[in-house]
């Protein structure tokens, strides 16, 4: 019940395309859903986060879509750029407790 299932494991997108990464969860007590971006040799960096009382949050080219009834949330990267090539992790948290991470998606954006 503490798992967050992330898909796909890897994703290849052409420059200018839309990248979509999906996550699903079971624990309805989760109340905070962040996405992290990790470049090789670096720690994960918070990209965008959402609370379950909001269905969508947009920051620049990055959008989180949240479907509370389906217990799913997704990251959309519009106009994907080669610089977006990184590993993306979704996560979920209950109140101030630990983050539970998905297994990650390696995104490659071809020029």
């Amino acid at each position: 019940q503490q798992q967050v299932k992330q898909s796909p494991q890897s994703l290849i997108v052409q420059k200018g395309g839309i990248s979509i990464i999906n996550c699903a969860y079971e624990n309805t007590a989760f109340d905070y859903f962040p996405w992290y971006q990790q470049f090789p040799g670096k720690g994960p960096a918070l990209l965008i986060a959402i609370r379950p009382d909001v269905s969508e949050k947009k920051e620049g080219r990055f959008t989180i879509s949240f479907n509370k009834s389906a217990k799913q949330f997704s990251l959309h990267i519009m106009d994907s750029q080669p610089g977006d090539s990184a590993t993306y992790f979704c996560a979920a948290r209950v109140l101030s407790e630990k983050l539970v991470f998905g297994k990650g998606t390696k995104l490659t954006v071809n020029p």
């Binding site: 905070y32 962040p34 670096k42 720690g43 918070l46 948290r93 630990k98 983050l99």
Partner: protein, 115 residues
């Protein structure tokens, strides 16, 4: 967001030795976390370290193997004891405020190889 510095950034160690990893934050934080990340894998929480209390370890991790100190609100250490090749990994420090709507930030990690 908090600036998190980890030392060392990487190390190569001999089997059976111990290494202490330091995590320094530029502001006072309530919660500090230590994670392990195998190359190409997700993050696994080792323990949560709050100032003034004993660290809380996750299943599969024990204090004898991964002792943690948290002497103040800006600093923590993780020791990897009696290392074996299976301990080769990236060890990440992370900090949070403890409030439900506040983000958790990560350092760049310590890349540890055991020969």
């Amino acid at each position: 967001s908090a600036v998190i510095s980890q030392k060392p950034s990487r190390d190569i160690c001999q089997r059976g030795t111990s290494l202490t990893i330091q995590c320094q934050v530029d502001s006072q934080v309530t919660m500090m976390f230590w994670y392990r990340q195998q190359p190409g894998q997700s993050l696994t929480l080792i323990a949560t370290a709050n100032q003034g209390s004993e660290a809380t370890y996750e299943s599969g991790f024990v204090i004898d193997k991964f002792p943690i100190s948290r002497p103040n609100l800006t600093f923590s250490t993780l020791t990897v004891s009696n290392m074996s090749p299976e301990d080769s990994s990236i060890y990440l420090c992370s900090v949070g405020t403890g409030y439900s709507n506040q983000p958790q930030h990560f350092g760049d990690g310590t890349r540890l190889s055991i020969l």
